[in-house]
Symmetry: C2
Subunit: 335 residues, 2 copies
Amino acid sequence: MSTRSQDPVGRRATIMDVAAAAGVSRQTVTRAMNGMTGISEVTRERVQRLAAELGYTPSRFAKGLVQGARISVGLAIPDLTNPYFPAFASSVVEAATQRSWNVVVDDYGHGTASGLDAVARLAPQVDALIGYLGEHSGEAQAMMGRRPVVALDCPEGGAAGNISFDYPYAARLAMDHLVSDGRSDIAYLDSDQGGPAASRGSATAAVAAEAGIAVTRCHAAPSAKAAREAVDDLLRSGVRIDAILAFNDLMAAGALKALQDGGKSVPGDCAVIGMDGIPLGELTTPELTTLSLDLRTVGRTAVDLLDALLSGSVEARSPAASLILRHELIVRRSA
Amino acid sequence: MSTRSQDPVGRRATIMDVAAAAGVSRQTVTRAMNGMTGISEVTRERVQRLAAELGYTPSRFAKGLVQGARISVGLAIPDLTNPYFPAFASSVVEAATQRSWNVVVDDYGHGTASGLDAVARLAPQVDALIGYLGEHSGEAQAMMGRRPVVALDCPEGGAAGNISFDYPYAARLAMDHLVSDGRSDIAYLDSDQGGPAASRGSATAAVAAEAGIAVTRCHAAPSAKAAREAVDDLLRSGVRIDAILAFNDLMAAGALKALQDGGKSVPGDCAVIGMDGIPLGELTTPELTTLSLDLRTVGRTAVDLLDALLSGSVEARSPAASLILRHELIVRRSA
DNA sequence: AGGTCTGCCGTGAACGTTCACGTCGTCAAA
DNA sequence: TTTGACGACGTGAACGTTCACGGCAGACCT
């Protein structure tokens, strides 16, 4: 009839269409569809049958408008391709599902996009946000207005809630382990992303300086491939090293490969320690010693914090909304 | 004032609140917020300032109701923890973002849930669905009504769109490679999930039978750990094998580990071939030979198909809505 | 002066549901 | 017969936006 029958989203049939087809009122259709009382079984079935025939699906917008909205939270992460993030995302989705929230994921890694693009896309669609936002947590919170944002790994903390990591503690853990193993020529294989991530490197440098150990720092994109090439260059440059501390497990795995390619034995000639404790670490040969984070805990913690923020039981930007998590050293084969 | 100031979702302020505060009408606020013309710069800035102060964020429901909805598609996957799925999800998110769609992810792996639970959660929230739904694609399509579903790896094809894989072709690729390498005692390490996934195993068995090769089949959960244990048992059982074909790369990686634990050299004593071609395969030692799928292509294909279905340029359940993708053999070190 | 244009702003209507009522029977008890 | 209760169903209102208008000044032209 009207031009909107061409509507790409098949939301043609409305509740009124069903009501007309069944010869009843809107409200009766509502009663039939939502399992409410106050309707006879025969009518209910007839209405449901008609609804199915017409392909009627209630508008989530109209529903959301009139009822209290079902909460949906945005999840902004830089790169689903890095195993750390899906592991994290998985636990967020799990915790959110338990609360009947749903999760809108935006992976802002592909283009040249930054986290803010993801936030811009997500902001009109969600009631709250969880994300690795780099240094942009302040702007992100501004875009979200009163709706709470939980930022991870962003020590400055412009967001309503902040979850950060105790890098000095982690660095000390690794350093102690390496030193007590007799290692002295340590390289730190850093990510070249800068931003808050750089605090991993500077924490390591500080701890090493404190212990009187010189650390060679080198940089690469946070992927296994880039790390492999960087370590390759490092080896070729002739610098003596007997241990590599990597920005994350993915880079550690790349380092492992480069060392093996270069004829070095691990951990014999050179130890390797990764960071974050992703499952991948158990599949390399040798298996990766790593500063592990319990990723399920991280995701759950983020959702718990968000819940507290939403319910008002924790004040935004208050000390209680700022959590610090610690890594744990898991000693496997590589160091 | 009213009790709804306790609203957990901070959607207190409406457009009317802003209008009242600024002493203007709704429409002027709309003009100010949406960068529309027909408003003076001073008024625009005043309104925007007031809006920010009140923490006003437009209701996505009201907006969606009156404007044509922004499309959001559900993505139902069994397990974000298996690297295959995030790789897939990543490409779906990328392709969807390019179209200004957004993606609601549901990972139905954690509980004892099946894909249908995910669909039930997703159905009221989305305009379309992409998913690994096992054998439930028919029910899923029914739940979604007229809204299109693209099901992956579900040959029966109850969904509007179907993307499946040519397993006989892949099996032949692997078998040829192994046979030409002189392997004759082949084990197929299958997933114990059953469902359409089982077609990988039966295709392999069929191809092997055709070539006159006996294949030992064993089963495990589709995780590296379970595969490792299964292969461990296999080795202990004393069966002679000189090649393992695995259900996926994760299981192949587990098999690798078990072989190494058991003192077997790979590929010397036993070859290993994985399936799907996830990045992890380049990080094991030896690197994994695998039947690779270009995962970015798979995701993009799914979104393209969904787009065609939504726009009506492809008829649901028509032959054009049924795509078959082929694996490609990538020979690395393990076979 | 009369006319038109343009910039700024306001008002009804519509989007598709659900909520809180209201109505109309029918049947049983008083 | 009246009363009350109850089951089945319908009707206005509301949710918060945007769209399509309409109005009202002032500037500018003839």
